[in-house]
């Protein structure tokens, strides 16, 4: 229950009780724990920059905190947060154009220990994903990182299902094509 206070000029302020504040804080912290990692990955693959990805996630959660009472169904939390993040990303582009990153110069962080061949293939895949057009990259990230169904991706991106299917198909085909080309080049050099 909210306690209603009247100010000196008679305007009513709805003030949450201390119990509501605690439960709101707990709810927020649960969301942060559950989704911050996936949201960070989504942001990184969207903007190709770790520092911007970090800022985007911080901004997203701050907006989520302000609007937490609008989230009625916890099952929709992930797509709700992704919608906020996409809007925030678009807003940043409105504010200022970022410096364009040359995909070829992006250093891929080698966090998992892999064999040299695997590592090379993963780096090539990393570059190939970043080089994908964002229209193809975004549904692929939502499907692979977010675990969204194609119908959910369509809803989140405001596209029809056939368009989403086509984009997912082309994204994978382009990646496969690029990888094959790169591997051919590598084997051509080594022979």
């Amino acid at each position: 229950m909210f306690s209603i206070k009247k100010t000196a000029i008679g305007k009513k302020i709805v003030k949450p009780t201390v119990y509501e504040e605690v439960s709101r804080q707990k709810r927020f912290e649960t969301l942060v724990k559950a989704y911050s990692s996936d949201l960070y990955r989504f942001a990184y693959w969207l903007c190709s920059n770790h520092s911007i990805a970090d800022d985007l996630v911080q901004e997203t959660f701050l907006r989520a905190w302000k609007a937490l009472d609008k989230l009625e169904d916890e099952k929709k939390a992930k797509s709700w947060l992704i919608t906020i993040l996409r809007r925030e990303n678009a807003r940043r582009f409105e504010r200022k154009r970022f410096e364009l990153v040359d995909i070829e110069e992006v250093v891929v962080e080698d966090k998992i220990s892999l064999s040299p061949e695997q590592s090379l293939e993963q780096q090539q895949l990393h570059q190939a994903i970043l080089a994908l057009d964002v229209d193809y990259r975004e549904p692929l990230i939502l499907q692979t990182i977010g675990g969204f169904k194609t119908s959910e991706i369509a809803k989140t991106l405001n596209l029809n299902l056939n368009t989403v299917n086509t984009r997912l198909f082309r994204a994978r085909e382009q990646l496969r094509h690029k990888l094959c080309k790169e591997l051919e080049q590598v084997s051509g050099i080594s022979t």
């Binding site: 000196a8 707990k26 912290e29 996630v57 911080q58 959660f61 905190w65 692979t144 194609t150």
Partner: protein
């Protein structure tokens, strides 16, 4: 499902659980192999997309939210002060009392708060009975939500939770020390002017002013109290 539709589906969603797709997959060795190839490629994509994230990301998000909330409350308070001054219908003495209340919002009677702390600790027997080792990351997150930070170990924490004492929220911790079980309550919204001993038949302890609000340390073993207090004072920092 015809062959073309099947192959397209295998590329678009190789892990699909659609019964028609699964049935078609089982129909021939070729189909099975094709789906396996797509699933393996998908796994490769997934491994690449799953970057490791900054270690303290969630703590920083919560701290950022707390900083925002703190700033927001301060602005709101200033705004209210200004509006109240404009109305000017309140007598000078009332305005003074009101202002003092704004400057020291949580100033409480130490004795009253001490009684509330004792009651809270005695009523919350669950906290004392929980036997788990709370990870440091959870303590960091909880403290960050109140604007606090640990710069060193405080010992084994067997219970950690939010608590409400005297209508204000705080952190309730139970520590397993070499001298016995100790309850620590961090009460960042409860300012007191001076320290006060907790006097009860079962519990001993102290509540004392901190940089932010107050801290209560209580235990059935009197010798555990002072050491825990020193430990907390040494390692707890209030950032906001």
């Amino acid at each position: 499902m015809d062959d073309l539709e099947f192959r397209k589906k295998a590329v678009i969603d190789p892990n699909s659980q659609d019964p028609k797709f699964l049935k078609k997959t089982r129909q021939s060795q070729n189909n099975r192999r094709f789906v396996e190839q797509q699933q393996s490629f998908n796994q490769q994509i997934q491994n690449t997309l799953k970057l490791s994230t900054p270690e303290n990301l969630s703590d920083r998000i919560i701290l950022n939210q707390q900083l925002f909330q703190h700033k927001h409350h301060t602005t709101q308070k200033r705004h209210h002060q200004w509006r109240n001054w404009l109305v000017g219908s309140v007598a000078a003495s009332l305005i003074l009392a009101f202002s003092l209340n704004l400057i020291f919002p949580g100033t409480q009677n130490s004795a009253l708060l001490a009684r509330q702390v004792v009651e809270h600790v005695k009523n919350d027997t669950h906290a004392l009975n929980v036997q788990m080792s709370v990870p440091k990351s959870r303590i960091d997150t909880m403290l960050a939500s109140y604007g606090g930070k640990l710069n060193g170990p405080i010992g084994q924490v067997s219970f950690l939770g939010h608590c409400i004492v005297g209508g204000h929220t705080g952190v309730h911790m139970v520590l397993q020390t070499s001298n016995g079980v100790v309850t620590v309550l961090l009460l960042p919204s409860q300012r007191i002017s001076h320290e006060f001993m907790l006097n009860d038949k079962q519990l001993s302890g102290i509540i004392y002013p901190s940089k932010k609000g107050s801290i209560a340390v209580a235990s059935e073993q009197i010798e555990a109290i002072e050491k825990t207090r020193q430990n907390i004072d040494q390692h707890l920092n209030w950032i906001i």
